[in-house]
Amino acid sequence: MSAVTGETMPVGAVPVVQTSRLTKSFGAVHALADLDITVGEGVTGLVGANGAGKSTLIKILLGLLEPTSGAARVLGHDIATEGDRIRQLVGYMPEHDCLPPDVSASDFVVHMGRMSGLPATVARERAADVLRHVGLDEERYRQMGGYSTGMKQRAKLAQALVHDPRLVFLDEPTNGLDPAARVDMLQLVQRIGRDFGIAVLVTSHLLGELERVSDHVIVLDGGRLLRSSATADFLGHTGGLLVEVLGGDAARDQLGEALAQAGLHCRPRGPLVAIDPPPEALAAPGVAHDIVRDTTADLGLALVRIEPDQAHLEDVFLTGGHA
C-alpha cells in the first residue's frame, strides 16, 4: 500500500508488525509490559523517553532478544518460529556504534549485502546505489574509523537498506547529530518510507521530532503503550497532496489542468501543485495518488515528488494539541 497518500493498509492486509501482550523483563525491570501495538505501511514513529523500551521492542522483533511472554508477528511471520525469514525481509540500524573502523563503507556495505543473500554483482551495485542515496560519496572508500557521527549514521543506514528490505527498524537515527544533519536524516527517513516504498519503524527519545515525517506515531512510556495516533487516518480523510514536477511553471500548470479534468481540485502553490482533499467519488485509499501518477505519465512529465500536504499534517497536531 502506498504511504504517499498516508493510507492505512487495505482491509485484510497483513500488518507490518503486530504484537500481542508482549512482555520483557530484565530481573525486576519491566522493559515491555503487555504491549499490544500494530504497525502499518509507511513511516511509523516510535517515541518515548530513554528507557521506555523502544530498543528492546526492536531487538525482540528481530529475534536478537527473547520475550519473557507474549507474541509478535513481523510481516506475517511469527518471531518465535520464523526469525530467519523475518531477518531476510528486514533491515536494522542499531542505536549504538556497530561499524568496524578498519574497513571502508563501500566494502562493508557490499559484505553486509552478501550476508543478506545478495549475489556478488548485485551486492556491489546495490551498495553503490544505497550509499549514494544516503549521501556518502567519495568518503565511502575511506575507512569508517575516521568518519564523523553523521557519516557513521549514514553508513549504518546504508547497510540496513542494501538488501532492499520490506521493512527497516531505525533506532534513534538522529542521535548525536547536529540540527542540520538531523533535518537531513529525517528527510532521508521520510524518503525511505514514501519514495523507496519500504515500511519504516523509527525511534526517537525526543517527543515531537518524528511527527513531521511519520504517518503514524506510537508513544511508549515505561514499556507500556501510551498512545497510538494515526496521523494517517486524518490524511486518509482529507487526502491533501502536494506534487512537484520538472519543467517549471508551464509543466506545473499543464499538470494542474489535466488533474482538474480528472476531477481533482487543485491550485498552484509556489512551484508545486496543491491538490485539495479529493471529492467523495475519488476518496478511496490511493485513488488520488494513482490519478496523479497516471496523469503525469500520460503527459510525459518527470515527477519529482508526491507527498501529503504538510500544512494539513501540522493542523492535526495543532488542533490535536500535540507537542
Binding site: 502506498s2 531476510q88 556497530c98 568496524p100 550476508m115 543478506s116 495518488h289 494513482d290 515527477l303
Partner: protein, 293 residues
Amino acid sequence: MSQMSDRTGVIHDLGYRGYAGQRESTAALVRHLFLTGLRHAYGLGRSGRSKVLPFLLLGFSVLPAVIVVGVVTFIDADSLPLSYAAYTSQLQMLTSLFAAAQAPVLFSRDLRHRSIVLYLARPLSAALFALTRWASLAVAILAFALLPILVLYVGGLLAGLDVSEQTPDFLKAVVLQVLLASLLATITGVLASVALRRGFAVVASIVVLIVAVGVVLIVQGVADFEGIAHVGEVAGLFSPWTIHNGLAESWDAGSAIGDLDGAWPAVYVVTALGLVAAGLALLAARFTKVGAR
C-alpha cells in the same frame, strides 16, 4: 510497496531501485562468510600491515621443510630424517603463535566493534555464525600446519622416496592435524571472544598453548621417572600439543614424544572432541549474548 515497484519505471528522479531477484541459500551465506574469514586470517582483503605476521610465520614454518628436502635430495637418503607428525610437533611454537595472533581477527573484532549485531540481524543464526567463524580459523591453522609437511611429502617423492611408504604416514599426519587445528581454533577462539582486546587475547592464548605444554611435559617427565602410572597420560590431556603427540605416537605416526596404550588413545580423542564441542557451544552463547546488548 507494490505500487512503488510499478512507479519506479515512471519516476526517474526518485531513483531508488528495488531488488526482486534471487536470494542466496543459507549454505551460500555460510560459504561467503567462511571464505571471507579465511582470507582475513591471512590478512588478505585487509591492510598491508596485517599480512606481515601470518606470512612471516608461515615462511618460518616452511623454511625448515625446504631445507630438509634439499638435504634428502643432496645425500640421496631413502627416508625423511623425521616423520610428518614430528615435524608438526617441532613447529608447535610457530603454529601456536599463528593461532594466538590470528584468532582475534575472527573472534574479537565483531564483538568489540559490535558489528556482531548487524550479522545477527541477518538470516544466519548466532550458532551458525560462530561455527562458521570457527571453521575459518580452524582451516587457516590447518593450512598453516599442512603447507610445510606438504612440501616435505612432495619434495621427498621428487627426491625419490617411496610413495607407498610415505603416503600412509603423510595421511595419518593430516588427520592428526585436523584434530590439532580444531583444538587450537577452539581454545584461541574462546579466549579471543572473551578477552576482546587483541593484546590480552594473544597473551592468554600463548600462556595456554605454549606455557601449558611446558608444564605438561615436566609433569610427564617426573611421572615417567618416578614410574607413577597414568599421571603422564592424564597430564597429556591438558594441552592440544600433547594430545596430538600422544595420538601420533600411539598411531605409529611417530612423534617420539609421549606414548599411549590401552584405552588412552580413545580417551584422548573423546576429550579433544568434547573440548571442541564445548568450545563451540560457548562461542555461540557468547555471540548471542553480545548481539542482544
